[in-house]
C-alpha cells in the first residue's frame, strides 16, 4: 500500500454508469416541470472520489437523491439510466429497479451521508443499537454481541471511542454525530457512498479530521464516493475527478488537478478564481458577475451566457454539448467544433 490515501484505489473498473439522467420537479399543470438535472452522462470507477460542485440551486442534491432513489415527489427521474455494476452479478439499472430489490442494495451496495447527521441517526436509539440493527439486517445470523463488536471497530475508525456506543445522538457533539453517521453509512461495506455537503455544518479542523478518516477508510475498504459541495477549493484537494454543474447540466468534468490548473469552461474558471488563496500573494479578485439562474426560467442557449465574458454569436441560442477535450469533457462553444452542439433549443425548453 502506498503512503498516501489519495492514490491507492483501483480506478479502471466501472462501478456506476450514468446515462442521460434527467430529473424534473413536476409542477401543477399547465406549468412546465423544473428540470434540475438535464441529460447527465458520466462514469464512476471503483474506489474513485468524484466531486460535484456548483452554486446553490444548480441541481446537486437532485442528482444525489436520484442516484440513491431517495427522491420524493414532485421530483421525478424522467429520463436516463443508472447502471450499477456489482461483484458477481449482472449490472442493474437503479432507475427501473423495484423497491424491493432496491432495499436489498441500500446500505450493502449504496449508502448515503446527508448534511445533517440527525437525518441519518435515530434520536431515541443508542448509537450501538443503530449500528447493530443495520449490520444484522444485512448479515443474517450475525449475533448481537458480534454486531456490537463490529460497531466498536467502525466507530473507532472515525475516531470515536467505543465506550460512546452507549450514548444517544444528542449526547454527542455535532462533529462526532457526523462522523458516526459516516461510520454507519460504511457499516455494510457498500461499494458506493454518496455524500451531500457532509461537512458544511462543521468547522475546518473537524472537516479536515472527518475527511481524512473518509480517505483512510476508502483506502482500506475500496468504496467509491460521489461528494457534493459548493466548496470547490475543498473538492480540489479531496476528489480524483470533479464535475462542475451549472443550471442542471454538467458543464465541465476532469481530473481535479487539470480543472484547477487549466479550467476549460469560463464558469469553471470563474468559480476557481472566486476563492481567495490561503498563502499565494494577495490581489483583488472579482466573483462572477450576475447570479445563478433560476431553473424555472433558465436562459436559452448556453445557460451561462448572461454572465459570460467570452460569450459570442452561437451562445445565446445554441446549447453546447459536453464534448471530450484533453483528458476531460467540456460544454462550451469556445471548444465545440461545427456541428457538435445541441442545436437551437426546442421551444418548450427555452420558455
Amino acid at each position: 500500500m502506498n503512503d498516501s490515501p489519495r492514490n491507492d484505489a483501483p480506478r479502471d473498473e466501472v462501478l456506476l454508469e450514468v446515462r442521460n439522467l434527467t430529473v424534473e420537479y413536476v409542477q401543477p399543470a399547465p406549468e412546465p416541470g423544473v428540470v434540475a438535472c438535464r441529460d447527465l452522462t458520466f462514469d464512476l470507477h471503483r474506489g474513485e472520489i468524484l466531486g460535484v460542485a456548483g452554486e446553490s440551486g444548480c441541481g446537486k442534491s437532485s442528482l444525489i437523491t436520484a442516484l440513491t432513489r431517495l427522491q420524493r415527489m414532485p421530483a421525478v427521474t424522467t429520463d436516463g439510466e443508472i447502471w450499477l455494476h456489482r461483484d458477481g452479478g449482472p449490472p442493474v439499472d437503479l432507475v427501473r429497479l423495484s423497491e424491493r430489490a432496491l432495499r436489498r442494495l441500500r446500505w450493502s451496495e449504496i449508502a448515503i451521508v446527508m448534511q445533517s447527521a440527525m437525518d441519518a441517526l435515530n434520536p431515541v436509539m443508542r448509537l450501538g443499537a443503530q449500528f447493530a440493527d443495520a449490520l444484522r439486517e444485512h448479515h443474517r445470523g450475525m449475533n448481537k454481541k458480534a454486531a456490537w463488536a463490529r460497531a466498536a471497530e467502525l466507530v473507532a475508525m472515525v475516531g470515536i471511542s467505543p465506550d460512546r456506543l452507549r450514548a444517544y445522538p444528542h449526547e454527542l457533539s455535532g462533529g462526532m454525530r457526523q462522523r458516526a453517521s459516516i461510520a454507519l453509512a460504511l457499516a455494510c461495506e457498500p461499494a458506493l457512498v454518496v455524500m451531500d455537503e457532509p461537512t458544511t455544518a462543521v468547522d475546518v479542523v473537524m472537516q479536515r479530521q472527518i475527511l481524512s478518516q473518509v480517505l483512510h477508510m476508502r483506502a482500506r475498504l475500496g468504496f467509491a464516493v460521489v461528494f457534493v459541495t459548493h466548496d470547490l477549493s475543498l473538492l480540489l484537494e479531496l476528489a480524483d475527478r470533479i464535475a462542475i454543474m451549472y443550471a442542471g447540466r454538467v458543464v465541465e468534468m476532469g481530473a481535479a488537478r487539470d480543472l484547477y490548473s487549466d479550467p476549460q469552461h469560463p464558469y469553471t474558471r470563474g468559480l476557481r478564481d472566486s476563492f481567495p488563496p490561503l498563502f499565494a500573494p494577495r490581489q483583488e479578485l472579482h466573483g462572477i458577475p450576475g447570479s445563478p439562474p433560476s431553473l424555472t426560467n433558465p436562459p436559452p442557449g448556453c445557460a451561462f451566457h448572461p454572465r459570460c465574458a467570452r460569450r459570442f454569436e452561437p451562445c445565446d441560442d445554441r446549447t453546447p454539448l459536453l464534448m471530450p477535450r484533453g483528458g476531460g469533457h467540456v460544454a462550451c462553444h469556445l471548444h465545440s467544433t461545427a456541428g457538435n452542439d445541441a442545436g437551437p433549443v426546442p421551444k418548450e425548453m427555452s420558455l
Binding site: S56, L236, E237, S261, R272, F275
Partner: protein, 357 residues
C-alpha cells in the same frame, strides 16, 4: 490587494478584559458555569477590519454580542470612543446608532411577517435617516438593495423573508445594517450562506466601505482564506480565550500558536494539489482530538490535550502574553513565559508555514 496597511490609531470600539460566564443547569439540577469568554482584549480602529476566527463553540459569537451590548459582561468593560458603555443605559441607545451587529442566523433576525421594504425602512426611520416622502424612501431602500447586489432591486423589495434563499436573506440583513450608517459593524459570519461567486462581491463591498467611509468591521468567519483577503488584523480564539493576534499576513504566514497552525493546515488550499512537496493535508492520520468543555476546561493552556508541542508547564499554568516585533502576540509556552519578546522570535512557530512557500 484589499487589506490596508496601517490603520489610524484611534480605537473606536474596545473590549478590555471582558469575561462572560453563562449559568446552565447541569446534572441533578446543579448549576454549572459555561466559561464562554475569558479575559478578552480586542480593539477596533477606525477604518480597520479585524477578523475573528476559531473553532465552533470557542466564544466568537459571545464576544461579538458583548461588544454589541447584547449581553452584560461578567467582568471587564466595553468602551466606545474611550467611554465605558453598559447595556440598558442612556448611552447604550446612542451606541446602537454607531454599532450594528449582523447576527449569525439571518432567519431569526428579520421580521418574518414584514416585507423586505418594511424591514429596511424601519431601520432607516429608527435611526433618523428616512427620507420624508414615500417615493424617496422607496428609492433609499432600492439603493441599499442594489449595494448588496440584490438586483433587480424591484424584484426583491416586496418579498417576504421566507421567499428568499439563505444567501439573499443575509444580504437583506447587511443592507439593513448599512441603512443605519454605523461606524462599526460586527458581522457574525455575515456571508456564510452566499454563493462563492457572490461572496467576493460582498467582501469587496465591505473593503470599499472601510476605505471610503472609514467603517470598522469585526468579521467573524470560518473561512480563513476569506479573512486573509479582507482583514487588516486577525484574532484567533480557542476555548473562550484569544490565543493569538496580529497583522493578517504575519499571522497567516508565521503563525505563533499551535492552534493557529492547526487551523491553517486544516483550511482548504488547492495549491497543495499543484505542489506535491506540501503533501496532502488529508494524509495525517493522527486525530487532532475533540474541542474542550467550557464547563471544566483543561487546566493550564486549554489547548494542551490536543497540542503536539505540549510540555509539563502547559498543563500547569496559562502562559502569559508574548509580544513580537511583527506586531503579533500569543499566549503559548513555546514563546517563553510571557513578557515582551522583542528579540527575534524562535522559529518553532514559523516552521511549517515557511516550508509551504
Amino acid at each position: 490587494m484589499t487589506a490596508r496597511k496601517t490603520p489610524v490609531p484611534t480605537p473606536v470600539l474596545e473590549a478590555v478584559g471582558v469575561t462572560r460566564h453563562f449559568d446552565v443547569s447541569g446534572v441533578l439540577g446543579r448549576t454549572q458555569v459555561v466559561r464562554a469568554v475569558e479575559n478578552a482584549d480586542l480593539t477596533l480602529h477606525r477604518g480597520e477590519i479585524v477578523a475573528l476566527v476559531g473553532e465552533s463553540g470557542s466564544g466568537k459569537t459571545t464576544l461579538a454580542r458583548l461588544l454589541a451590548l447584547f449581553h452584560p459582561v461578567t467582568d471587564g468593560e466595553i468602551r466606545l470612543e474611550g467611554t465605558v458603555v453598559r447595556p440598558g443605559t442612556k448611552a447604550a441607545k446612542a451606541y446602537h446608532s454607531s454599532v450594528q451587529m449582523i447576527f449569525q442566523d439571518p432567519f431569526g433576525s428579520l421580521n418574518s411577517m414584514r416585507r423586505v421594504r418594511h424591514n429596511i425602512e424601519r431601520a432607516l426611520r429608527l435611526h433618523g435617516h428616512a427620507a420624508a416622502s414615500k417615493a424617496e424612501r422607496r428609492q433609499q431602500v432600492l439603493e441599499l438593495l442594489e449595494r448588496v447586489n440584490l438586483t433587480p432591486a424591484e424584484h426583491f423589495i416586496d418579498k417576504l423573508p421566507h421567499e428568499l434563499s439563505g444567501g439573499q436573506r443575509q444580504r437583506v440583513v447587511i443592507a439593513r445594517a448599512l441603512a443605519v450608517r454605523p461606524s462599526v459593524l460586527l458581522g457574525d459570519e455575515p456571508i456564510s450562506m452566499l454563493d462563492v461567486s457572490i461572496r467576493l462581491d460582498m467582501l469587496n463591498l465591505l473593503a470599499r466601505l472601510r476605505d471610503e467611509d472609514g467603517l470598522s468591521l469585526l468579521y467573524i468567519t470560518h473561512d480563513i482564506a476569506g479573512a486573509r483577503y479582507l482583514a487588516d488584523r486577525v484574532c484567533v480564539m480557542y476555548a473562550g480565550q484569544l490565543v493569538e493576534s496580529g497583522p493578517t499576513e504575519e499571522v497567516i504566514q508565521h503563525p505563533k500558536h499551535p492552534y493557529t497552525r492547526l487551523l491553517l493546515e486544516s483550511s482548504p488550499d488547492p495549491e497543495r494539489l499543484m505542489n506535491p512537496e506540501l503533501g496532502s493535508a488529508f494524509d495525517r492520520t493522527v486525530s487532532p482530538g475533540e474541542p474542550p468543555s467550557l464547563v471544566s476546561p483543561p487546566p493550564g493552556c486549554r489547548f494542551h490535550p490536543r497540542c503536539p508541542s505540549a510540555r509539563d508547564e502547559c498543563r500547569r499554568a496559562f502562559p502569559g502574553r508574548t509580544e513580537f516585533p511583527s506586531g503579533q502576540w500569543t499566549h503559548c509556552w513555546l514563546h517563553g513565559s510571557g513578557g515582551n519578546r522583542l528579540t527575534a522570535p524562535s522559529n518553532t512557530g514559523d516552521h511549517q508555514a515557511d516550508q509551504r512557500r
